[in-house]
Symmetry: C2
Subunit: 720 residues, 2 copies
């Protein structure tokens, strides 16, 4: 077997091994006293029960699609779909399993100080991160190895391409369900619990008297952790696959096609190594600044990745200006060298860095946007929400410009393939980025357990400090995922147009493809414009559905909690225990029910649009409209997603600004429990479904729309 | 002079005459008692002072642009710009003058019953509506007559095209300042006043003890009335001009070019007549259903317009399938007949009807979306806002589909020119639509005056009933304006691409245009994609700025009112009068200051984008990116605008659901002053800048971006 491919597979295994070894270490940590373990067990039980039901439901959809893939695309695609789906689901499940064990141990470790709490929580995050990256890389490269080394498929075999794309589809499908279902659960519990607990009853977050408090902690694990892990798995897998597909198309006639197809896998492979090394750099400095500790790890990973990237390029295409490559795309011939490709990788890293800096600015405590929301809370609920919405909209500007700059830079360096390599390099850091994210829900839970178990307030204080940083790192991950989608927009669109051209150029091209070779997707075509509009509509409709679902779930939680308080006054008095299970059960049913229709929206929309336009206008308009839809969904999707995730993070941290008292511009200090604090809780409540349900689910939604379109082409070509 | 042109001019004059005659009648109505007149005088004074300052500021920008137009495009364009700007400003000013006189008379008339109040308020709205439509038509057709009949310019003269486009630019420029400045003023006052008055002090809206109450009423006149009038003037003028420009391009080589250029003017002309007739059909039936009364007028206008449209088509191109016309656009030859053009007009009317029905559904009291927001208020502020945001996002779906259906229908019937005629026909009803809208602020003010003057509660009840309908009609107008922008998107883009092709084809084409003849604006071009992204960013950045401005103004109002309450406890006791002027002055300064930068965003963005891309990539990328920007701004703009205007209307009416007590799903009745009502006030507060500041200003923003691009082409061609 090719040594480069072996390296990629080995790196994937290494990622998983790291996860296993660290897990063994984690399990040895002190799991706290009996009360803590009892609470943790309830959370574990709820999370496992929810995920079981969620996966059962997804499996029903999955089986249908598996059969369709088998019928229309053959068994290799069906197996690819299965691999993607199972691994994406496993990544989410593993994330949950780690998280529900790390939470109670972090609560215990936090009793011994910030450094210990941070170390344990970050280690838990790193396990999930490496499981995600390692699993995705192993899945893609392993199946690729099977297809090419065992079955001897080559870049010319559509089977190979279809099987890889189907793998991406499997991952995407699980991920949208997991993101949305988990998001509805967690935010239904969080919003409902906060509204009735904090605002009405005036009891603190995670107070054991609140019947929704276990559900809230379950939600962190199934939404912020399992949902996020499945999402990033999907982003990683789809980006790698898309780059490989492009390489197969662009370099199919050259001797170096195999090398170019392996390039994304090897880049991902070495970055798993740099991510693992980076985790050892996360250490709290003397300043006790948590974000700086995390940054140390991230910067180490980034710098090492530059070196690793240079090595990979040197080993594969050759690091110099003297080995020119060329390919043709959309009628233009592009020339590049190993060196310009290396520069594209640097652009990918720069885009990542840019997104992190901007997201931290817009969501970080003490920065202008968050302070402006906190200040607006002083004048009431309304101005808080207005300012939060203003920040959320404004927060899209610089990220959009960064994406634009990235696209232009890579395009000028190496054309579309350059953009693909930049996106791959960006995603290759996923192990580290997920680690930063996944530590958030662990600390959030740790705080909850500390509160419920009645640990001393300084433990809660420690976990709160970790949690505040978690808000920013969570926003960073979401921005990063959607940013890679934006940067990769042209890559997925190019895969669509190149496929179309390929099928149209076949000597025995099916009738529907005939005469499509020169489709330009010109903005002057009304079919392109309506495709953009319909694509643009999807994130709005999807976002609206997601928000409605959370609103509905939260209202149900509020009513449930009010009912328990009413029926048993002993709960508030602390003399009797609330029925935590009822809230968990109710949310489980609600989330499962609500996730299905929105998740099917991006699966069915491309098919419906294509069919309708085909019957009105014929094949050319139908393919034009479908292609434009893929870009339309990205053009609005980026703004919807970034505004929601950044805005939500800003609202959350604006609320946190009041925990230690917020000093307004007139020098008045507003404490927890003040009117201004209550207004900030309203904003946080609104931000919750923004940042943790609707916003992040836009990313897999965009991918699904794109992948379904690619698979439709394959089906039309295959079935004809 | 051509009889068709004379007809258009005559219709414009007729519209203005109707306005003058009705104004004389309005002034004769009883202006109420001394207290009422005193209040009305304060509102008049504040509104006039604000508009004077606003226009002075705009004039400074206007003078600069006038000089630039004169230097780069010649005196005809400069004069065109001046005409558009002055008339648009005049339409806004006239709207304000009528409104501040009709308010107090409506309050008085409402004492005599709902029918009388409705009649007077609607008449006032109709005056504004006909001033807007008549003025715009007279401006465009009069200047066109001067250019063609006096100066003998023909469709081949770029001077003619540039002069008309400049007229549109003048109108757009005023309108964005007026929409945004007025919007910031009115919503700063409204939000600030409500938050401190209703929520904190617990006094009703428009209570004379609230120092912001006069400012709130001034705001209705300068924002909802003057700003709206300038906006619709702009939409009307730009749509007509764009259709004329397309006609000149498409039919330049045919003998019927003159007829095709006149067609939009004559359609607008006859629809002024049908709008006037329609106003006489507005009459309260026995059911006392206000919306039905208004619909009678609208339906009469619509049905009459079908007949009038048929007559115009019969008289000009000929109403039959036997007079085929053809033109070439983007390489495709289109055939159409008078009859298919008539069908396109019907599509325009159907789109209008569709928008009205959908908007009424999403914003009407008692319908599912508004009830869902009211229901969500029962569980608190947070769920209210979440549900409102969900409704706002969902509300974009059907309008987008309507636009898509309209585009496809017209394109299949008669190509791009068919879409242009549909958009023109849609806009031709503006007289009637503005009448429905402008009656809203009049009744809102009437309610305020009734409250402040201490009229009996049943008067307030009558004006409240009128005002609730006004919320829906206001949302309808905004949806209608943005819908026409969506439908017209391809028209403006076609004007851009056709101009580009024209300049590139000139024998002495300036260097920058050379080789541009076959620009395809393909989605495969990265320059097109970045153009879409940057265009897509504008509505978000603009919306964020608008929301921030309102938030800031509202916070200042809250502080001012709190200060007055603190410094003089006699105000709340009712023994001393608050200082109304201080709030008006403060808001005037704030609105003027805050409106400038966002308004310049769409003016400068096309120029900056073009320049940067030109230096990075050269002429082709620059023109591609600029063209794509024009569609990008529409793709996100439509969703941002519709979600904001419909969502805001829904929040407002959800709040109004509590005025007579809202019965929730469990049968519990929530009255004014209840916790649920307070939560609904928060939502309304958030919806205010959504629906009355940021949302509606997106429409002129889109137009400006497009027109600036057209003018840039002219300048580049002219200057070279």
């Amino acid at each position: 077997m090719n040594i480069a491919l072996m390296l990629a597979i080995a790196a994937g295994i290494l990622g998983l091994l790291y996860g296993v070894v660290q897990t063994l270490g984690l399990m040895k940590a002190n799991a706290g006293n009996a009360r803590m373990q009892e609470i943790a067990a309830a959370i574990q039980e709820g999370a496992a029960a929810y995920l079981k039901r969620q996966y059962t439901t997804i499996a029903m959809v999955g089986v249908v699609i598996f059969i369709l893939a088998f019928i229309f695309l053959g068994y290799l695609s069906a197996i690819g779909f299965l691999i993607g789906a199972v691994l994406s689901g496993a990544a989410g499940y593993a994330g949950m399993l780690i998280s529900v064990r790390a939470n109670v141990r972090t609560a215990q470790a936090a009793s011994d100080g910030l450094a210990k709490g941070l170390k344990l929580a970050f280690n838990a995050g790193a396990i999930t991160g490496l499981f995600v990256a390692g699993g995705a890389l192993l899945g893609v490269s392993g199946y690729y190895a099977y297809l090419t080394e065992v079955l001897h498929k080559t870049a010319h075999d559509r089977d190979l391409i279809n099987a890889l794309v189907s793998l991406g589809f499997g991952a995407s499908l699980i991920s949208i369900f997991a993101r949305l279902g988990g998001g509805i659960f967690t935010k239904g519990a969080d919003v409902g619990g906060d509204m009735v607990g904090k605002v009405e009853a005036g009891i603190p977050e995670d107070d054991p008297r609140n019947p929704a408090t276990i559900a809230d902690n379950v939600g962190d694990n199934v939404g912020d952790c399992a949902g996020m892990a499945a999402d990033l798995f999907e982003t990683y897998a789809v980006t790698t696959v898309a780059t490989m597909v492009l390489a197969a198309i662009f370099f199919g006639e050259t001797p170096y096609v195999g090398m170019m197809m392996l390039l994304p896998l090897v880049i991902c492979g070495v970055c798993i190594l740099t991510s693992i090394i980076g985790t050892f750099f996360v250490r709290l400095g003397k300043d006790n600044h948590i974000m700086n500790a995390l940054y140390k790890g991230l910067i180490a990973t980034g710098l090492l990745s530059i070196v690793a990237l240079a090595a990979v390029i040197k080993y594969l295409p050759g690091l110099g200006f003297d080995t020119p490559f060329e390919y043709v795309s959309a009628g233009t011939t592009f020339h590049f060298t190993g060196m310009t490709l290396f520069y594209c990788g640097l652009v990918g890293l720069a885009v990542t860095a840019g997104f992190i800096v901007v997201t931290e600015y817009y969501t970080g405590t003490g920065k202008r946007p968050v302070v402006s929301i906190a200040q607006a809370s002083v004048t009431g609920h309304g101005t808080n929400v207005i300012q939060g919405l203003a920040v959320s909209m404004e927060a899209t500007a610089i990220p959009a410009l960064i994406i634009v700059a990235g696209i232009i830079g890579c395009y000028l360096l190496a054309g579309l393939f350059g953009i693909a390599i930049a996106t791959t390099t960006m995603l290759a850091l996923a192990g580290m980025i997920v680690a930063l994210d996944a530590f958030g829900p662990v600390t959030d839970n740790a705080g909850g357990i500390a509160e419920m178990a009645g640990l001393p307030p300084e433990v809660r204080h420690t976990t709160d400090a970790l949690d505040a940083v978690g808000n920013t790192t969570k926003a960073v991950t979401k921005g990063y995922a959607i940013g890679s989608a934006g940067l990769g927009a042209l890559v997925l669109f190019a895969a669509y147009t190149s496929d179309l051209k390929y099928f149209a150029g076949l000597p025995d091209a099916p009738a529907i493809f005939q005469g499509l070779g020169n489709l330009t997707f010109s903005l002057s075509s009304p079919w392109v414009v309506i495709g953009l509009l319909i694509g643009g509509l999807l994130p709005y409709l999807f976002g609206g559905m997601g928000m409605t679902a959370v609103g509905r779930a939260a209202q149900a939680v509020v009513e449930e909690v009010r009912k328990q308080f009413r029926e048993d006054p002993g709960i508030m008095a602390g003399t009797s225990k609330p029925n935590y299970g009822r809230a968990v059960d109710m949310l489980t049913k609600a989330a499962i029910k609500e996730m299905v229709i929105p998740s099917l929206l991006p699966v069915l929309s491309p098919i419906i649009l294509f069919t309708i336009v085909y019957f009105i206008g014929g094949a050319v308009p139908a393919f034009e409209a479908l292609g434009a839809m893929l870009l339309g969904v990205i053009v609005t999707g980026i703004f919807v997603a970034i505004s929601m995730t950044s805005g939500g993070g800003a609202w959350d941290n604006a609320k946190k600004s009041f925990e230690d008292g917020f000093v307004d511009k007139d020098g008045v200090k507003h404490l927890k429990g003040s009117e201004a604090h209550k207004a900030s809780v309203t904003g946080d409540t609104v931000g919750d479904p923004y940042k943790d349900t609707a916003g992040p689910a836009v990313n897999p939604m965009i991918k699904i729309t794109n992948i379904v379109a690619l698979l439709m082409l394959a089906v039309l070509a295959h079935g004809a």
